[in-house]
């Protein structure tokens, strides 16, 4: 593998990281909003979210990416491959994150909620001051798993023409007629990215455990 090829791979890695990061940065809060809609049992909307989550969780990212990239234009929304990829990843991971947040909300200790109500807290205050600070701490494990799954799902957007690590590796392989070295390098890069995410999770979890003394 030449230096140029290696640089191509690194560029692909940056694209993968940027795509995943954008998806996570928007998908995690969006998932929380969806979870709140269900938790608060907002009429009608709650049912819509339930169907959305179930459908998107069942749809392969590659199918979803094609759907978004080719269908949105017929509604007058033209998206370039990268924005379409980010939208796909965001909407996909939001559905999974919704279930994570919702699970954590459902098992949030009732007595803490009642104590908050007994002390005069309204629902927004209760959510902001009591639930949210604990919710993200207890969801960090599953959220991180979902982040690594999303990262591993990014190659699917190659199908709409985004060049991330896997696509870059296959291009190099096709040009050099020696595909294995770039593929193995790509595998190492993915592993490193995932190690970084998981290490970040461990770090945060250790801090939380030290501070608040509860295991997450």
């Amino acid at each position: 593998m030449t230096l140029a090829a290696f640089l191509t791979l690194i560029t692909g890695a940056l694209t993968t990281a940027a795509l995943s990061f954008s998806g996570i940065a928007m998908g995690v809060p969006l998932g929380l909003v969806l979870a709140l809609v269900r938790w608060l049992r907002v009429p009608l909307l709650s049912a819509v979210v339930a169907v959305y989550v179930s459908l998107v969780r069942a749809t392969p990212i590659v199918t979803f990416a094609l759907f978004i990239f080719f269908v949105l234009p017929s509604f007058g929304i033209e998206l370039a491959p990268v924005p379409a990829a980010i939208l796909t990843l965001t909407l996909n991971t939001a559905a999974f994150n919704c279930e994570i947040w919702r699970g954590a909300l459902e098992i949030f200790p009732r007595d803490q909620i009642e104590a908050a109500r007994a002390h005069g807290m309204t629902t927004p205050l209760l959510f902001r001051r009591i639930i949210l600070p604990q919710l993200w701490r207890s969801s960090i494990g599953p959220l991180t798993s979902e982040m690594t799954i999303l990262l591993k799902g990014t190659p699917a957007v190659a199908v709409i023409g985004v060049v991330e690590i896997t696509r870059a590796a296959s291009r190099i392989g096709a040009e050099t007629y020696r595909p294995l070295p770039p593929f193995l390098t790509a595998a190492v890069i993915y592993t490193l990215l995932i190690v970084v995410i998981v290490a970040g999770q461990r770090l945060v979890e250790r801090r939380i455990a030290r501070l608040y003394g509860y295991a997450v």
Binding site: A118, H119, G120, R129, L211
Partner: protein
Amino acid sequence: MDDQTLPAVSASRICKQFNGIEILRDVSLEVQTSETVCVIGPSGSGKSTFLRCLNWLEVPDSGAVRIGGRPFGVVPLSGGGTRPMSKTELAAARTRISMVFQHFALWPHLTVLGNVVEAPIHVLKRPRAEALEEGRRLLDRVGLGHKADVFPHTLSGGQKQRVAISRALAMRPEVLLFDEPTSALDPEMVGEVLAVIRDLAAEGMTMIVVTHEMGFAREAADRIVFIDGGQIIEVGEPEAFFERPATERARRFIARYMK
């Protein structure tokens, strides 16, 4: 009517069903300002449900609650009749009546002091410095001033419950409700919590205490309310109630507990 003579708490004809089963039937009770009332009765008799109806954690099916003479949970309409309070109105009303729970229900992500000042700062909008100062004073008073900056998980059960009491007091409530405050404690910690409640009684706090501690009820209460099967069976001065219960049911209950 003179404000002084209004009862601090007045519950009249509270009814509550769960899944079609009647849990409270026509429960009425008046508690005067500075009075300490202990509610006793077999488990499952509806004591917690009654207490929770007083601050609308459970919404009564019928009946009315007044705190300091003002209707709770509903708003009287000018044309007669009432409407349920909005969520905001209810939250505001709940600041006048505070509660201590069996399992403490401290917020684990806040320090001990953080637990105490949380609602005063964010609900009552008291100035931060003032709330912190009062919080520390309240913690000192229950003997936990030195624990202000630790997180609740490091405390013993008795200490947690004393923090919960400080947290409730920080609201400067008109009435304080206790739901079996010592039932979740190891026996050696019951005393420290009861001592705090006894002090509050002596200082003239208005309190309703659901408890199984008969000794405490007898010595600290101004009146005993005995509930069984979702009804108030008997109300009396502690001395009279424990020595000469008027009803057979109360007699049997006392006999079982005094052994």
